[in-house]
Amino acid sequence: MAKKITIEPVTRVEGHGKVTIHLDDNNQVTQSRLHIVEFRGFERFVQGRPYWEAPVLVQRLCGICPVSHHLAAAKALDVIVGAGTGDGLTPTGEKMRRLMHYGQMFQSHVLHFFHLAAPDLLFGIDGDPAMRNVIGIALTNKELAVQAVMMRKFGQEIIKATAGKKIHGTGAIPGGINKHLTEAERDSFLNGADPMNIDKMIDWSLGALDFFKGYHKNNKDLIDKFAAYPSNHVSLVRKDGAMDFYHGVLRGIDSESNKILDDIDYQNYLDYIDEEVKSWSYMKFPYLRSIGKKNGWYRVGPLARMNTAEFIPTPLAQKEFEIFRAYTNGKPNNMTMHQHWARLIEILHSAEMMKDLLNDPDLLKGELTVKGTKGNEGVGLLEAPRGTLFHHYRINEKDQITMANLIVSTTNNNIPMNKAVNLAAKQFMNGQTDITEGMMNAVEVAIRAYDPCLSCATHALGKMPLEIKLIDKNENVLDRMLKNG
């Protein structure tokens, strides 16, 4: 008898979504979908507001990585106020923003790896759900739990020092930044009492990588094969091909490393990228126009960035990058669970970048903002923790926003996540008559690898109980399981 399984909402992700899986008479998976069931509407209600409010207003669509939205909006408005398309800011303006962004990347990745993903690795995909969470980690591996909390705190203190607040600050303004770093702040980040200093953060980042690499050695099948599939990859890279989270050109490669987006100026992103709408999800489906709807989808995020970048411009992360790339003989890495590995390298890179920036005197003094000839349209892109983030605004002659288009990282990863769900469902559920909690979690592990932020992707907050339903052909509910998230 055909069945439909619903996992709702998905747990240990940011936001609210559900998964449906259809099984045929032989219990083979015929279709699976990740549905995003939130509706936000930021693009609509920002209309009419004065443009300089956008970085402060739009960041409210997320409490996890508001800095990304804050900065992407500010970058789009830099274009509007004539401060250039990404490299026209004063040294202080750009470097303070970069410090904010790398602090954000560091804390968001740490949150994801230690709090959301690590429980699956430490306790197993089908481990006891009562332990398979951050509390379980705190009970069994206190040192790791302390590191997680302190690393996240460090990143958030960086954000506070640059944006004024840990969450939803006001630092970036059109054309620059509104503050300097104080000497006292800089000194405490560089030489603060153990463990709150940047050298400890770098040490711990290396330790987390070692932890993962050790795990990988003993769990090759899971890490290399689970929900792996070839795909296109897209991210910003610096003009010289270096990994850069704050600014660059848009590069896309296919699963064989052929360039499918040739380092384009993202002001013209609409010439290259389009979005498809489907009736069953509030999240759109972006694709590359040159390849078309069917095959033009692409992955963004840590894995994609490792594939598109030619090198990482900090020494310790570069070493790890080389090991990562050597694992696939320099070919693009298409293994979903390697997202975690990539994320950890990015944590290390962010820590090294923060150290470099903190040692830069431009943060302490210098002009904060710059302005030029005003325009009426601007696009701001950056690499958010979860991948490429697009902000696009148009204003009228009265300085009011008339159009806003946001393509958030999780939206870019919409099809890849659906693919991963499908593979995990097939791998764990095909031919099974009883659906266990472990099988349900396997599907979630596939989604979690992408660290999706479903709130952002629909531009909400939701409770996260998990519901699974067995439904027959005639949509009768045969069985229902519920657990709290």
Partner: protein, 233 residues
């Protein structure tokens, strides 16, 4: 003899004939909250937030001339509750979204909300549909945030500084209207003056916002009234 003595909260306060209760209180380090009142503008007593017990009756401190021997209470529980209610009503009436407002940290209404520990208003929000007048090249009027205190209309007029604002419509529909002809060649300085007169974020300068970092805004370190109460950090 111009000197007078009044009692405020059982403290003997000295002042001069012609001063209002509010002025003498301020000179003697006693803070009475105000919203529609503004230094240098004739008081009108419309927002009622400075209401005190004056000679046993509720009266606005900003408009009541002090008389020798007056007995005044400014801070009873009843008065504080009354003031908190006014603040809540103002929040419920407009569309005040502090998190994204340029005046956050520098807004008298928000500062009073904090002073009265307003968490959730007891009144339902009106969610009235209000718009923005953005026609002027230098300033915007966001009607969502206007508390109709009339400070912008009543402010002292000078030669280069005539009546830029007037009320239009009547009753519940009353709205601040900007004279676009008179303000067509507004300078940045005049625009800043107009913005400074407004206690909230209803009049804001164009193309300039959020340039004072969090932590350095007017009320970040020194809550409203602390300058008068001598509680500065």
């Amino acid at each position: 003899m111009n000197k007078i003595k009044i009692r405020i909260n059982d403290i003997v306060c000295r002042g001069e004939k012609g001063q209002t209760v509010l002025e003498i209180a301020k000179d003697n380090g006693i803070y009475i909250p105000t919203l529609c009142n503004y230094e240098g503008i004739k008081p009108q007593g419309s927002c009622r937030i400075c209401t005190c017990m004056i000679g046993g009756r509720m009266m606005t401190a900003c408009t009541t001339p002090a008389l020798d021997g007056m007995d005044i209470v400014t801070n009873s529980d009843e008065l504080e509750k009354f003031r908190a209610t006014i603040v809540e009503l103002l929040f419920a009436e407009g569309n005040h979204f502090c998190p994204t407002c340029e005046r956050s940290g520098n807004c008298e209404l928000q500062a009073l909300g904090y002073r009265y520990k307003m968490m959730v208003p007891q009144f339902p929000y009106s969610f009235a549909a209000k718009d923005i007048d953005a026609d002027n090249p230098k300033i915007m009027i966001d009607h969502n945030r206007c508390i109709l205190c009339k400070r912008c209309i009543r402010r002292k007029k000078e030669k280069d500084n005539p009546n830029w604002f007037v009320f239009k419509k009547r009753g519940a529909k009353v709205q601040i209207n900007i004279d676009h002809e008179l303000t067509a060649d507004f300078t940045d300085k005049l625009a800043q003056q107009a913005m400074d007169t407004c206690p909230v974020g209803a009049i804001i300068r164009k193309e300039k916002g959020f340039d004072v970092p969090i932590g350095e805004r007017k009320y970040d370190k020194n809550p409203i009234g602390s300058d008068i109460e001598g509680l500065k950090e």
